[in-house]
């Protein structure tokens, strides 16, 4: 029996990435990283800034996301996100600008705890890939 399932990453403009046969996906869900294999229970969750790792039999791909929702159902993983970048051909200057903006946001004292958590997550991830 094959252990493969389908992934669709969709952003508002287009279907960003579709792969019919992946073996595992690791996504940065809001309450911690989550690995998804075939026949996972149907789940809806949302994402925090982080790296989506898509593993196929022969290769591994990584994407940087800032937010999004994931839905897994009938062995199809759909990820809806408004900000996603492929790590392979990512633009370093955009990253560092993002990082700067995030650090500025963090200095703002009026944000609530949840946003503060999200922003610090973002900074951490951005630093790790930079």
């Amino acid at each position: 029996m094959s252990e493969e399932f389908k992934i669709e990453i969709i952003n508002p403009e287009k279907s960003f990435y579709v792969n019919e046969s992946i073996t595992e996906a690791v996504v940065p869900a809001f309450e911690g990283e989550m690995g998804i294999l075939k026949d996972h229970i149907s789940i809806i969750s949302f994402l925090k800034p982080g790296i989506i790792k898509v593993i196929t039999k022969s290769a591994e791909e990584k994407f940087y996301v800032e937010d999004g929702i994931l839905e897994f159902k009938d062995n199809t993983l759909s990820i809806l996100t408004s900000a996603i970048m492929d790590l392979k051909n990512i633009d370093k200057s955009i990253l560092s600008e993002n990082l700067k903006n995030a650090e500025n946001d963090l200095k703002n004292t009026e944000i609530n705890d949840q946003n503060r958590f999200l922003i610090s997550q973002k900074i951490e991830v951005l630093k790790s890939i930079n």
Binding site: I10, N11, E13, K14, S15, I44, I69, L80
Partner: protein
């Protein structure tokens, strides 16, 4: 009877108008392909988003306390209408159709004694609405500067709507836009986004079979995060559909204009040739009768 010179001038002017409309048609065709592609690519996102929210709202146990964006404020006294139009004219009935639809709705509401607030997106909508409804327009938004429809712009509108909603300035929000069916037909649409309306549940039996989701974190928290995003997404979808419709509508309008100009040139040319021939005949008769009288 216009003189030969006048006719000649008219023919040249119609011909140059034809050149312009032809060029505009060609530009619209090129842009249409791109806009249509974008609209089609953008559809899955908004559809998925809607589906997820529908699934979620079914799973919600405590309907009373869930987000107001989903269940509404409990009254419907004030309506906010977001009318999405284009920034440029010369696109046939595109803007007029949306405005007509919106105006009908306004009339219906004011008969019922509801208050109306209007947000116009795009210059043309504002121009057409300001004559009768100027006092109701609370904001006009225009994206003349940005070349392509982008999510960032939609988010701005979404945020504005949410801000007003939190201040309890309205209870129901509708958006008006043109749905792109094909190049010839665009259907003006009205869509309610606050409170969210689900699809009509005809096949309840099928839905009961759907498996239950696991939520992480719980439903309410996901919903309260998702609903604001959905507003922007729906607006973005409307903007994409609108831009494809605009180009399609302009293409058809300009195609018709080019054809009409062609017909007019033909008609004028015949008239020109006839009067030229008449002038020649007249001169000949004069010469002949002059020669005969000698």
């Amino acid at each position: 009877m216009p003189s030969l010179d006048d006719l000649k001038k008219r023919i040249t002017s119609v011909k140059s108008t034809q050149k312009i409309t032809k060029a505009m048609k060609m530009v619209a065709t090129a842009k249409l392909r791109k806009a249509q592609e974008n609209a089609e690519k953008g559809r899955p996102y908004s559809e998925r988003m809607n589906n997820i929210i529908l699934n979620l709202s079914k799973g919600i146990s405590d309907k009373e306390n869930s987000s107001k964006l989903l269940v509404g404020t409990g009254k419907e006294d004030t309506h906010l209408c977001v009318v999405l139009t284009s920034d440029r004219g010369l696109c046939g009935g595109f803007n007029t159709n949306i405005i007509k639809k919106a105006k009908n709705y306004f009339d219906k509401l004011s008969k019922e004694g509801k208050r109306i607030k209007i947000v116009t997106v795009g210059m043309k909508g504002y121009d057409q609405l300001k004559r009768n409804h100027k006092d109701k327009i609370i904001k006009k938004i225009s994206f003349k500067e940005s070349k392509n429809v982008n999510y960032f712009d939609a988010e701005k509108i979404g945020k504005f709507i949410l801000e007003k909603f939190e201040l309890e300035e309205f209870d129901v929000c509708n958006i008006f836009y043109n749905k792109f069916k094909n190049v010839m037909t665009q259907i003006p649409q009205q869509q309610q986004i606050i409170p969210l309306q689900g699809k009509k549940e005809n096949d309840t039996s099928k839905e009961q079979l759907e498996d239950i989701y696991e939520f992480e974190p719980d439903e309410d928290e996901i919903l309260s995060n998702l609903l604001p995003k959905n507003i922007s997404t729906q607006i973005f979808k409307a903007m994409l559909e609108n831009s494809a419709s605009e180009q399609g509508s302009r293409m058809t309008a300009m195609d018709n204009a080019t054809r009409n100009a062609g017909d007019l040139v033909d008609k004028l040319s015949i008239e020109y040739n006839r009067s030229r021939q008449a002038a020649i005949t007249k001169e000949l008769i004069e010469i002949i009768s002059g020669a005969e009288s000698l």
